[in-house]
Symmetry: C2
Subunit: 459 residues, 2 copies
């Protein structure tokens, strides 16, 4: 992966000698910032302030699903703390968000009579009647397998028993499961949890219904329970299950993006945007997804302020609302600032945890990538992650698209992250203080340089 | 550990030259069995039969708490399968067992209003009223700390937040927590789960009430929830909790030990006893605790039968009932066979999982240990575990005590075992097929040699 990346970088230099030369001179210039960056890194890594802030956020406010009192409290708490940090232009920007409530739910094997299955309703699922739906389970391995057994799906609960490979590949089975099963008359759908096998751990996450098809109850079950059902049916057992879901929507609720800035000293209208999302699923305490992304980017801004660093451009921190089940915060931001999208020089999101080994992903033009390689050459000697491909993020996506904004993602190790992603186990214990310090240091460093360097990062 | 063990073995040889010489000649004689032992090892390690049997047991019958229908079905299933294996003298031996039922339970933080806490009532806990008990939480670090804060315990829910070191040390806080807290007027007790931090994983297990003290509701909570409560109180928050437990006892229920044998060809009245316990806690499917101990010892017997090996002495397999919350099966066995306790040559129990790296523990006289060292010298070249100190086991304990019987334990790796011990995550996924094959091979080998060798293992 890294070797390939270097090869590509070398190729770019070969075919773009003029720009390379140009970047080279910038790099010489950037070396002026080495000491400021080192100060940021030292400040971030010599303290567990950020971890304690994350613990306080998650201890005090717990899970923060859109529409919940917890999220409302967390927003007010963030504003108060940002003001106490001395950040500038601290305010909220109202966003109306969906308000889905999980309600009572459970799943059990009734035939054979084995009792409870570890489950979580998928976010957005409809409710069953209080007594649930009871039906034979039809396990399938993938969409093709469902097609093959389409005639058997009617009146059944379809179980998508799809082994986890990676999130982007496997999550399709969660989001589209209900529509896929409903088209053949299934009365409910179960998805093997999207993640490596944990400790009988069910993972929630959104399900999307398709227009014109029945909205059937949808839940995820633990890998162990999926295995058990599959082994039983493979041995010829008739497996029947009761699935009870209680999901329903209340009217949209008032929520908000939280904004704080350090105003640029020379070009305050040029925006370097950083952030994460403050909402979470309604299980666990949303520490890794995405309390830590909020706190790491917030800490980057706080440290600049604390060290008296006011870069040329404005650094704007946004804690987005409703990333998990609507993206209303991201869209509201793009609506509000759409006319100023072109003023967004750079956008960085942290929404993949901060587990070691972490990397930076960057998406932008060849010219921007070349400049980032020079910034990387300044940062990596300080022990910060290398910059590879794959920037972007759900919350910075809409504004970045409007403004053709170069984007960066802080990417924690995915293998361990998806063990507890969207589960009751997403608590502050999943975040190591050192990993968070390193994330804050890395984000502070790259953000500061991009906000400070004389030339704007090319689009 | 191993170095120490070798040093001790060497010391024994130095101080007991006569016995060493004697053992040496036995070892020469034992080498006759090398080929039979190798056949057992090959048969065990070339098949996943035992793992599939464990999957079937746990898939079909699930958790098997004493008094449950699941346990009754598992007993009947075991008898049927043992007969199908061609084992001898297959029968059940009736045992009346306690019949505790967990009922509905939950715990939540009501002040601050944070919602559900991951919990499991401790086995044997009394029930609260349906609305639970609501009280301020008093976290303490250990028994001394409770003494120091004794005046604060009245009317509170005491939380024993004792970090896990090892099971035998930490489990004391689970078993005696209720009595310790009740003496100072606590209205409920919570215990940080006894095990390494999992994934918001609560561990059950027995609690013991003390005569003359109030029986207060008792539950374990996940390490993450304990941490959160402790962090909140450390920050000065008033933490109040609702604890609902639903535990109650039904009248004693009929259960049974399951027995199967290969009768000895020369000394059928000399018994080599092997086994595990078929009951489990009522969460998970009791795969590692102790379905795997039952299946590994059973497989040892099945392989001897399958390979036509009928040793000099009788090998008796017992799947004990009610190890977890009463030990009635172990005591019933000792009652029934007490007069023949002296005929028990050796007893081996597997009740610590089979996770790699596993070892054998042995307890017996110096003479017996010396003989076991010679047996070990025969087995370890075949890749079987070394024999160290620390035999015994809860189920073989009573008969071993009566007959001064040398005992052995098959000891899976403890660190990983206690991550899921007594939790909903104790499923067949926690048992690797190779680890189980190796356990069956190891137990078959040592059992066969002890049952076959001309001289009885010294007491």
């Amino acid at each position: 992966m890294r070797a390939l990346r270097r090869l590509l970088a070398a190729a770019v230099v070969l075919v773009l000698p003029m720009q390379a030369l140009h970047a080279q001179s910038s790099a010489n210039f950037l070396s002026m910032y080495r000491e400021d960056v080192a100060r940021l890194v030292r400040a971030a890594t010599s303290s567990d302030f950020a971890w304690r802030r994350l613990a306080e956020l998650t201890d005090l406010h717990g899970p923060r699903l859109s529409g919940s009192d917890n999220l409302t409290r967390a927003i007010a708490w963030s504003v108060e703390k940002m003001k106490a940090d001395g950040l500038e232009n601290v305010h909220t920007e109202k966003v109306m968000v969906p308000h889905w409530i999980r309600g009572q739910e459970r799943a059990e094997l009734v035939d054979p009579p084995f009792g409870d299955v570890a489950m979580l309703g998928l976010g957005g699922t409809v409710a069953t009647p209080p007594e649930g739906v009871v039906a034979e389970v039809l396990p399938v391995n993938n969409f093709d397998d469902l097609q093959t057994h389409a005639a058997d799906a009617k009146g059944r609960i379809v179980l998508f028993n799809v082994p986890y490979t990676n999130y982007s590949e496997t999550v399709t089975y969660r989001t589209t499961s209900a529509a896929a099963a409903a088209q053949f008359g299934a009365v409910g759908v179960l998805v093997r949890s999207v993640g490596p096998t944990g400790l009988r751990t069910a993972h929630t996450g959104s399900v999307t219904y398709a227009p014109g098809l029945p909205e059937i109850p949808a839940a995820s079950i633990s890998a162990e329970d999926a295995n058990r059902i599959v082994r039983l049916t493979a041995r010829g057992h008739y497996v029947r299950m009761r699935l009870v879901t209680g999901g329903h929507y209340e009217p949209d609720a008032e929520s908000a993006n939280v904004v704080a800035e350090i105003r640029g000293r020379e070009k305050p209208d040029e925006i370097v945007l950083i952030g994460g999302h403050l909402d979470s699923w309604d299980v666990g305490t949303g520490a890794a997804d995405d309390g830590v992304g909020c706190v790491a980017t917030w800490e980057a801004l706080r440290l600049m302020k604390h060290l008296g660093l006011r870069p040329r451009r404005t650094v704007r921190l946004v804690l987005f609302t409703n990333e998990e089940n609507g993206l209303r915060g991201a869209n509201a931001y793009a609506d509000r600032y759409g006319e100023m999208a072109g003023n967004h020089v750079f956008a960085l999101e942290s929404d993949s945890g901060v587990l070691s080994p972490a990397t930076f992903g960057f998406s932008g033009s060849t010219a921007a990538r070349l400049m980032m390689a020079q910034i990387g050459a300044l940062l990596t000697p300080l022990g910060l992650p290398e910059i590879g491909p794959g920037g972007g993020g759900a919350d910075i996506g809409p504004i970045a698209q409007l403004g053709n904004v170069p984007t960066m993602a802080y990417l924690g190790d995915a293998t361990r992250f998806f063990v507890f992603h969207h589960t009751a186990a997403d608590t502050v214990e999943r975040v190591a203080p050192d990993d968070l310090s390193r994330a804050a240091a890395s984000i502070a460093a790259v953000t500061y340089v991009v906000a400070e360097m004389p030339e704007r990062l090319p689009r």
